[in-house]
């Protein structure tokens, strides 16, 4: 994929996620959360300056001067308004005080459950492919008010009918992929909410392992949104997870 295309996808995903935070009270991003980092940063700049940004290094409302490659980088701990440890953020979630959280899965199924644990070898009854583990998601997903799942890939191996192992499930708000946005119908199944402008219903349908219905296009990033991201991230850290 060329760099232009990567930037287009990254910007669209970031902006889409940032706009979902317009009414958020607080938002948590965990490990390996490159795009959520930019989305929260942008939402605070443009839409919701009072948004409380929670993260693993444990500084409330960090003020990074550049986008680090790691989302537990100490640039995120350098400045902020107060300190709150990871354990205490989990406690907030357990108390029902966490509003929005970003999570991701290697597999996301039509129920909004995801798998970050492993692919089982059904025959041998053991682990066939080991993933990273779900980090805090088993707690965060059912106990936060709204969870935004994000994934830089969108194919039939990612958007699956049913996860063979459920690492976490719970209070899904939106799924934002490289091609589209899903929401959940009631407490049940994912439905397509919008298709990113550079994609098509056909492309999304061909790359999703469960049935979908047509949907409008995702509103594209505005020039202002793009300019802010470009100024903050001239090196393109936000495309590092795109192949």
């Amino acid at each position: 994929m060329d760099r232009e295309k990567k930037l287009l996808i990254a910007n669209t995903m970031i902006v889409t996620m940032a706009r979902l935070l317009k009414d958020a009270q607080n938002v948590f991003m965990g490990v390996a959360s490159n795009l959520p980092f930019f989305a929260i940063w942008l939402a605070k700049k443009l839409y919701n300056p009072g948004l409380i940004w929670l993260n693993i290094p444990g500084r409330v409302n960090p003020e990074p001067s550049f986008p680090p490659l790691s989302t537990v980088h100490y640039e995120i701990a350098r400045e902020g308004s107060a300190s709150l440890t990871l354990a205490e953020i989990f406690d907030m979630s357990a108390r029902g005080e966490l509003d929005v959280a970003f999570l991701s899965g290697v597999q996301i199924d039509k129920y909004g459950n995801f798998n970050l644990s492993f692919l089982p070898d059904e025959v041998k009854g053991r682990v066939k492919i080991q993933f990273t583990g779900g980090a805090g998601s088993a707690l965060i997903y059912p106990n936060s008010r709204r969870v935004i799942l994000w994934r830089t890939k969108h194919d039939k191996r990612t958007l699956v009918e049913r996860c063979p192992v459920v690492t976490a499930g719970g209070n899904l708000y939106r799924v934002v992929t490289s091609l589209a946005v899903f929401k959940r119908e009631g407490k049940e199944r994912l439905v397509l909410e919008s298709i990113h402008p550079y994609s098509s219903y056909k492309e999304v349908a061909e790359n999703t392992a469960f049935p979908i219905h047509p949907a409008p296009f995702t509103p594209p990033p505005t020039p202002e949104e793009i300019a802010l991201l470009q100024e903050f991230d001239p090196e393109g850290v936000r495309v590092v997870e795109f192949d």
């Binding site: 390996a32 444990g58 537990v72 440890t85 990273t132």
Partner: protein
Amino acid sequence: MGKVKTLKEAASLVSDGDRLAIGGLLLQRIPAAFIRELARQGKKGLKVMKTAANYDFDLLSFAGCVDEIAAGFVSFEAEFGLAPNFRKAVEDGRVRFEENSCYTVIASLRAAAFGIPFMPIASLGNSYLVNKFKEIENPYGEGKVLAVPAIYPDWAVLHVHKADEEGNAVIYGPVYEDLIMSRAARNIVLTTEKVVSKEDIKRELDLAVIPGFKVRAVVEVPGGASPGACYPYYDYSSEHLKRYLSIRDHEGLKRYLDDVNP
């Protein structure tokens, strides 16, 4: 006998089969030099735990030092990809990965730190992890509550900014799970950027959160978290990490361990 020791002496306190809680998180403030020394000494059957790990658990998996890893997440981030030697060891059945939520790792350590046999936890919803833990009746209300067992590490291994000769230590910035590990563990090993005077610790008493009395060894290792970062002294080394991740076999690993000092 004083507590200030060489890396070699300190690592030799750890016995095969011991359970270790490893401080820091991902590439932040990990006791990397100590981890390498465990590998050099060919420890076997270690059980290690942490919320989110990469270099440390990947290297111990590669070197064949660990039997069991309990963690919520084992992977590098963005530029470095997954933790290849951890994955291979688990997929080959050489290491048992007890997947936890980061939260349940903390809850198990809290139970140990509080001296209670288990810790009730919030719902884990429909996660498969639920099956790893037992339910108990809520004596003060309706329904059942999930509980995780206390885990008492034999050792908490932590890298700190400053420690005095008695093991009283100061940490700057995020403490991650270091504090709760130091309370839960039976013994503590500290590697430190610098061994300082008692007076130096005293000047920052509010940050002197590790008391020395369970500390069995203090090892001065400037840069001891490298290739990880030690805020605010140094960042992680991409070059070093890429070198590590390019190692393909045990001979390469041995060369790496011989080369990197400490």
